[in-house]
């Protein structure tokens, strides 16, 4: 689950310029997601994006690999399905978006690495959401990203988010992580 330790060895391979580029990517991404600019967000995804969000199962510590926390899932998407999801959010009949959800993303990068031409980043993620007069939620978890390099900058190629929750409370989950 924790890929931070695995990628430590390659940390020195990433120079300060790359780290600055990654951090700029995240600032931009948070800007898109916090302003509900989902189309802008889709633009910074690699056409081959594989986007997965998992949650937890309660098992005995050290239980067999069959009970890995990563098997309970909330998103398993490619660019086409993410595009369809965002299109749905734009519909005048998207009742979950009216009232709209306010989201704040807090990201703490833990580790950077390089595999071939791809940059990998492990971070802690905290997302606080608020909607209407009753719906408040907080999500925290570990995010592992891989970026591909393009002429116009980095694009997100893989995202694997492990949320720390067993039960999602409160209606639905209309947030991208």
């Amino acid at each position: 689950m924790n890929q931070a330790a695995d990628s430590k060895a390659s940390q020195q391979d990433l120079d300060e310029t790359d780290i600055a580029t990654v951090n700029a990517f995240y600032r931009r991404e948070i800007g898109f997601l916090q302003s509900n600019n989902f189309e802008g967000w889709l633009d910074i995804l690699d056409p081959d994006i594989h986007y997965q969000v998992f949650t937890c199962v309660t098992t005995k510590p050290g239980d067999s690999p069959g009970s890995m926390p990563g098997e309970a899932y909330y998103y398993d998407d490619n660019l086409a399905s993410l595009t369809l999801r965002t299109k749905k959010l734009r519909s005048s009949m998207a009742w979950t978006e009216s009232p709209a959800t306010t989201r704040r993303y807090f990201l703490q990068t833990l580790d950077y690495g390089i595999e071939g031409d791809e940059i990998s980043v492990c971070s802690n993620l905290l997302v606080l959401t608020s909607r209407g007069d009753q719906q408040e939620n907080q999500f925290c978890g570990e995010r592992n990203d891989r970026f591909s390099r393009h002429a116009d900058g980095l694009k997100l190629l893989r995202r694997n988010v492990q949320l720390d929750k067993v039960i999602v409370v409160d209606r639905f989950l209309n947030t991208f992580f």
């Binding site: 239980d63 009970s67 309970a72 909330y74 999602v168 209309n174």
Partner: protein
């Protein structure tokens, strides 16, 4: 009490109290969730001896386990000594269950293996875990009831059992498997709203799910397209005269058409084509089954893109905790299984672009009915189709096979008929038994007012 005021099927009127009142809820726990067969999980979740998982029956935590001999068992998840929740994992493999409070240990057969300090003083034979009344499997689905005197599972399911068997065996003999662990989430709504919705609430689809249809995920119902000359697709609702289990399907399966169809949809097309070639009957209309509810709280979508089973676990009158599984035919290809998972996640569950709008509606019905006056306001309208004759034919005649039950037909014939059967069954359990306790609270207050 005046039961006809609470659920008036003749006039299609439902009292609001049945969705928000604590006393009615407690009566449901005793008379519905204490007596009906309740869905627990899929057989593949406990394949080997000592496999277990934890779920709920009503609002009680239960352990479902294969004991050391491989016998399927269901236990109340509560230590006999001080009542502690014995098993605190969602699932696993265990020869015994250890209570960490005072160290009592139970075997996977429920018997006390050791009880520190007691062992020397008395026999612990009388202190085995409390077992469910009966537990059994149908169509690869595990059910249990607290009621030792309840009819056997297949009798309880009635004709529905044949359809569940049919659906579990369509690809091969190996039945069903689940993908991953169940998704769990909560919605502030009474459990009956989701259960009745999957029982046949066609009219909510264009309004609630307009966004998913507009985005192109699902095509609109064909009979509403601009081509007026297009022949409406055949649609049916299967029901039974002696229970409230039901499902609806048809020529256009649930979640048919639209964007991003994949290998699963192709598999369904192939299964249908094969059934059309092989047989003179019209069993192909039952692949996939469609959308339905097994009374009281198991619902399913067996559609063109995936299959999901979900249980609406009651958590008080105003809260439901959902366990939802993506289920696939075990004999299907790896490619089909992967597609089923992605299609399910795209459309259903707490992140599904189709289902998340349901949760918004259901939560707001609770808020809409929770005020002092809102709870006591005039009854809700379940009258759709009441003044229309609903055509029904034996299923054997409609599908030209030997399937049991009846079929309500007609593409544009949207009615509340299935919901009436749901509430007729509800009444049977709540008021049916001799000397049944009357619920107290708002319901009684209403009954007294009616009597005055």
């Amino acid at each position: 009490m005046n039961e006809s005021k609470l659920v008036n099927l003749r006039d299609g009127l439902m009292d609001r109290a049945i969705y928000v009142d604590e006393s009615i809820y407690q009566k449901e726990m005793k008379d519905i969730f204490g007596k009906c067969w309740l869905f627990l999980g899929v057989a593949s979740q406990v394949e080997k001896p000592n496999d277990f998982f934890v779920t709920y029956m009503g609002d009680d935590s239960v352990i479902v386990a294969r004991d050391g001999e491989g016998v399927l068992r269901g236990y109340l998840n509560s230590c006999r000594h001080r009542g502690m929740r014995l098993c605190r994992e969602d699932r696993g493999e265990a020869e015994s269950f250890h209570c960490p409070y005072h160290g009592w240990v139970y075997g996977s057969n429920g018997e006390v293996v050791s009880a520190p300090f007691y062992d020397a003083e008395e026999s612990m034979d009388a202190w085995s875990l409390t077992e469910v009344g009966q537990i059994d499997i149908c169509g690869d689905l595990i059910f249990a009831t607290w009621d030792k005197n309840a009819p056997p599972l297949r009798e309880y399911l009635g004709g529905m059992a044949d359809y569940l068997d049919f659906a579990a065996q369509r690809v091969g003999k190996e039945g069903l498997e689940i993908i991953g662990a169940p998704q769990r989430w909560t919605i502030d709504v009474n459990w009956k709203y989701p259960a009745e919705n999957f029982s046949g609430d066609g009219p909510h689809v264009p309004a609630t799910h307009g966004a998913a249809i507009e985005a192109g995920w699902r095509k609109p119902d064909s009979f509403k397209t601009k081509n007026r000359r297009a022949k409406p697709p055949r649609q049916h609702r299967v029901f039974f005269k002696d229970n409230a289990h039901t499902f609806g399907g048809g020529e256009d399966p649930a979640q048919a058409g639209g964007a991003l169809l994949g290998p699963y949809a192709h598999m369904i097309d192939q299964l249908r084509a094969k059934l059309k070639c092989d047989a003179d009957d019209e069993s192909w209309l039952l692949t996939p089954l469609g959308v339905g509810t097994v009374f009281p709280n198991l619902s399913f979508v067996d559609g063109a893109r995936f299959k999901t089973l979900r249980v609406w676990h009651p958590r008080g009158p105003n809260k439901t905790e959902i366990y939802s599984w993506c289920v696939v035919d075990r004999d299907a290809s790896a490619e089909v299984k992967e597609d089923a998972k992605r299609q399910y996640l795209l459309a259903f569950g707490p992140t599904g672009m189709f289902e998340l709008d349901d949760a918004e509606m259901w939560s707001e019905t609770t808020r809409g009915m929770s005020g002092y006056h809102a709870m006591r306001d005039r009854p809700l309208n379940y009258r759709l189709g009441l003044n229309r004759e609903v055509k029904e034919v034996p299923a054997s005649e409609y599908f030209k096979n030997e399937m049991p039950g009846f079929v309500q037909t007609g593409g544009s014939g949207l009615t509340d008929a299935a919901l009436h059967r749901f509430y007729a069954e509800w009444k049977k359990y709540i008021f049916g038994s001799e000397g049944a306790d009357e619920p107290q609270g708002v319901a009684t207050e209403l009954a007294q007012e009616a009597a005055e």
